[in-house]
C-alpha cells in the first residue's frame, strides 16, 4: 500500500542536510488480533522526529495514535498486537529489530514516555525519589546514594517545590500536576533523545496544563529533546507543536507544518475536525458535527477509511489514496483523491 507514495516517502527525501532524526518511523503497520483474526489497526505510518522538535500525532479515540506509540516503545502485548511491517529507528538503533531484553535497554534510556494518568503509571507503595532513581541505577549503573541525589536534582529541574523533602514522599501525597512532573522527571532521568508524551495534560486542569506544557518546552530547549506529542486537543497542538500528523482509523490522512495545517487544512476529516470544535476565542458559530462514527476494525471499508462519513466521497475512494505533497517543498501532505492536486497523484 506504500507503493504509490514510495518515491516521496523515502527516508532520504527528508530535507537534505537536515540533522539526523532522533526518531525515524517507516511504514509502521500494527496488527491486532480480534476474535482470532489479525487486522491492521495502524497502517503505513512514516515520519521523522528531529532533535528539539515537537511533532503532534492527533486524532480521536481509536485512531491508532496511542497504538503507534506503544509499537515504537515495543510495548505491544504478545499474542494480541504485533508489528506487521515497517521499522522504527531510535537514534542509530534499529529498535524494531530488537528482542524484548535488548529493548529494555532502550526504554527509559534512549526513549522515555509519559502517560495521561500519572497515578496509574507510578507505583503507589514506592517513594517517588526511588522511582525516579530506578532507571539511573538500572541503565547508568549508579549507586543508590548517587541516584537519589540525582533524583532530587531532577525534581528540582521539573520545579517540584521543596524537592529535598518530597523526594521521600509517596505518589498519593502529590497533586495531579505534581505527579505529572514526577513522571516527567522519571522519563528524562537518563537524558533520552526522544520523549513520547501520550495525552500528558488531558487529566489536568487548564492552568496546570499550561504549566506542564511550559515545563516540557523548557526541557526541550535545554536538552534538545525530540517530543512526540499524542493528543486529541487541537488547541494544545496549535500552542506547542511544529508539525502535525492527523490520524483517522489507523491511517495518517494529513501531515503538515502547524501553521499550514491550521491555515489550510486539506483532508476532509481535518476540515471537519476543526469545524466541530467549539472555540473560546470566537463568538458561538455553527458547529458542524461529523455524521456517523468510526467503523469497527472488523467492518473497515476498503480504501479510504473515512469515505463513509465524508461529504466529498467518490467511487475512487474505494482504493486507498497515497499520502502526497500539496505544496512545493513537500512538507504538507494529504491522503485524499479529491482534495490533493491530481498531478501529485500521478504514478
Amino acid at each position: 500500500m506504500a507503493a504509490a507514495a514510495a518515491p516521496s516517502m523515502a527516508p532520504d527525501a527528508a530535507a537534505p542536510g537536515a540533522m539526523r532524526p532522533a526518531l525515524s518511523v517507516r511504514g509502521l503497520t500494527t496488527s491486532l488480533r480480534i476474535d482470532g483474526v489479525w487486522r491492521n489497526a495502524v497502517r503505513d505510518v512514516s515520519f521523522d522526529l528531529a532533535p528539539g522538535e515537537t511533532l503532534a500525532l492527533v486524532g480521536e479515540s481509536g485512531c491508532g495514535k496511542s497504538l503507534t506509540a506503544m509499537t515504537i516503545m515495543g510495548l505491544l502485548p504478545a499474542g494480541i498486537g504485533r508489528l506487521a511491517a515497517g521499522s522504527v529507528r531510535i537514534g542509530d538503533v534499529l529498535a524494531s529489530a530488537l528482542d524484548d531484553t535488548a529493548m529494555q535497554q532502550i526504554r527509559g534510556n534512549a526513549i522515555g514516555m509519559i502517560f495521561q494518568e500519572p497515578m496509574s503509571s507510578l507505583n503507589p507503595v514506592l517513594k517517588v525519589g526511588f522511582q525516579i532513581a530506578e532507571p539511573l541505577i538500572h541503565h547508568r549503573g549508579m549507586g543508590r546514594r548517587e541516584a537519589r541525589r540525582r533524583a532530587q536534582a531532577l525534581m528540582e529541574l521539573v520545579r517540584i517545590p521543596a524537592a529535598a523533602e518530597r523526594v521521600d514522599a509517596y505518589p498519593h501525597q502529590f497533586s495531579g500536576g505534581m505527579r505529572q512532573r514526577v513522571m516527567i522527571a522519571l522519563a528524562i532521568a537518563c537524558s533520552p533523545q526522544v520523549l513520547i508524551a501520550d495525552e500528558p495534560t488531558t487529566a489536568l486542569d487548564v492552568t496546570v496544563q499550561a504549566q506542564v506544557l511550559d515545563l516540557l518546552a523548557g526541557l526541550q530547549r535545554e536538552q534538545g529533546l525530540g517530543i512526540l506529542l499524542i493528543t486529541h486537543n487541537l488547541g494544545v497542538v496549535a500552542g506547542v507543536a511544529e508539525r502535525v500528523l492527523v490520524m483517522y482509523a489507523g491511517d495518517v490522512v494529513e501531515s503538515a507544518p502547524v501553521r499550514d495545517f491550521f491555515a489550510t487544512p486539506r483532508h476532509p476529516y481535518s476540515v471537519a475536525l476543526l469545524a466541530a470544535m467549539p472555540r473560546v476565542d470566537r463568538p458561538a458559530h455553527d458547529l458542524m458535527p461529523i455524521p456517523g462514527q468510526v467503523p469497527s476494525l472488523a467492518a473497515m471499508p476498503d480504501g479510504c477509511r473515512y469515505q463513509g462519513r465524508c461529504p466529498l466521497a467518490i467511487p475512487r475512494c474505494a482504493t486507498l489514496p497515497p499520502l502526497v505533497a500539496v505544496d512545493g517543498p513537500g512538507t504538507h501532505r494529504v491522503r485524499c483523491w479529491v482534495t490533493a492536486p491530481p498531478a501529485a497523484q500521478a504514478p
Partner: protein, 319 residues
C-alpha cells in the same frame, strides 16, 4: 420571576484525611453561592477541579443537602419541600451526568431504564411505551434502541440515552454536569447541537457545568466562574470571555488552548496550583496566586460587585 433562583448556598463536607492516623477536616465546597436561571436560558458554571461546581449542581436537586441557603424553583422553596412534594419537583428538574456508561445500569434494557422514571412518576405502562418511543426519536435514536442494552451503544449514543431519560418526564430545567466532556470532538458537536435544538424547541433551561470554556461559550448565554467554593465573576458569556475582569478568569482564559498558532502567546502561567479546599487562604481565596494582591485581599473577602451590563466581579481591584 426566574425559573430557578439560588441564594447564598453553603455546604461543608467532613472528610477524613491523613495516614496513619486520619483526622477529620472540613472542606467548604460552597460558600455563599447565588445564581439564577430563566426559562429557556442556559447558565454555564465553570472552574477547575474542586471549585464546587458539581456540588452546586447537585445541591439544587437536593442530591446533596445544603447547610444553608435558599433554592427557589418556579416560586417554590425546594430545600423546604416535603418528600412527596420533592418528587413532583424532580419531575421538572432532571440531571444529565458526564459518563453515561456509569449512569446507566448495564443489565437494564434502555426501554426499562427510561420506563422506570415514568413508572416512578405514575405513568401507565402503555402510555409510557409511546412516550419512550417519542423521546428516543427526539434524541435521534431508533425506537428499536429500547430493546437493547447500554453496552451495545457507542459513547455518544449512550449520552443520547442519558438525555432521553432526562427528557422523558418533560422537565423545565436540566442540570448537565460535564455532559460532553467524555466525548470526542466530532461526537461532542453532535450532542451540543442536539441539546441546543431541545433547548429551543422545549424552552428548556440549563445549568451547564463544564471545565471546557469553548463548550460553555458555544452553549450558554450567561456564565458564572467559581473558585474554591465562591462565584468570583459572572456575566454574559461572550463579554466575560472576551474581556474577563477577575484576575482568575483572566488566568483561566489565557490558559485555555485555542486552535490558532497565530494567537498571541500567553504569558507564562505563574507557578502554583489552586490551594486545597480543605485549607483555603483567608480573604480572597485567589490572593496567593494573584498579581494584583494587596494586604486588603488577604484580610477581606471581596463582595461580588455589580459592573453593569449584567456583569459582576468579586475583586477589590477590578475596574
Amino acid at each position: 420571576m426566574m425559573l430557578l433562583d439560588v441564594a447564598d448556598l453553603a455546604k461543608t463536607f467532613t472528610v477524613r484525611q491523613g495516614w496513619p492516623i486520619p483526622r477529620q477536616v472540613s472542606l467548604r465546597a460552597l460558600d455563599g453561592v447565588s445564581f439564577c436561571v430563566d426559562r429557556g436560558e442556559a447558565l454555564g458554571v465553570v472552574g477547575e477541579s474542586g471549585c464546587g461546581k458539581s456540588t452546586a449542581a447537585r445541591v439544587v436537586l437536593r442530591l446533596i443537602e445544603a447547610d444553608r441557603g435558599r433554592v427557589t424553583f418556579d416560586g417554590e422553596d425546594v430545600l423546604a419541600a416535603s418528600p412527596a412534594r420533592m418528587r413532583t419537583l424532580r419531575r421538572r428538574m432532571q440531571i444529565v451526568f458526564q459518563d453515561p456508561a456509569s449512569a446507566l445500569d448495564p443489565r437494564q434494557r434502555v426501554g426499562a431504564a427510561l420506563g422506570e422514571a415514568l413508572a416512578v412518576h405514575g405513568m401507565a405502562r402503555d402510555a409510557a411505551g409511546a412516550r419512550i418511543g417519542a423521546v428516543l426519536d427526539e434524541v435521534g435514536l431508533p425506537a428499536a434502541a429500547a430493546g437493547r442494552f447500554p453496552h451495545e451503544f457507542s459513547g455518544g449514543q449512550r449520552q443520547r440515552i442519558g438525555i432521553a431519560r432526562a427528557l422523558a418526564l418533560a422537565p423545565d430545567l436540566i442540570i448537565a454536569d460535564e455532559p460532553v466532556s467524555a466525548l470526542d470532538v466530532s461526537v461532542q458537536a453532535q450532542i451540543l447541537l442536539l441539546l441546543a435544538e431541545l433547548k429551543r424547541r422545549r424552552s428548556l433551561a440549563f445549568v451547564f457545568v463544564s471545565h471546557d470554556l469553548g463548550v460553555v461559550r458555544h452553549f450558554c448565554e450567561r456564565t458564572v466562574v467559581m473558585y474554591l467554593g465562591r462565584i468570583i465573576e459572572s456575566g454574559p458569556t461572550g463579554a466575560l470571555f472576551d474581556a474577563p475582569k477577575h484576575p482568575y478568569t483572566q488566568l483561566l482564559r489565557a490558559a485555555c488552548p485555542v486552535p490558532d498558532p497565530a494567537a498571541p502567546r500567553r504569558a507564562a502561567i505563574a507557578e502554583g496550583e489552586p490551594p486545597s479546599p480543605v485549607a483555603p487562604p483567608p480573604g480572597c481565596h485567589f490572593n496567593p496566586r494573584c498579581p494584583l494582591a494587596t494586604p486588603l485581599c488577604r484580610d477581606v473577602v471581596p463582595p461580588l460587585r455589580d459592573f453593569g451590563a449584567g456583569r459582576a466581579v468579586a475583586c477589590h481591584h477590578a475596574t
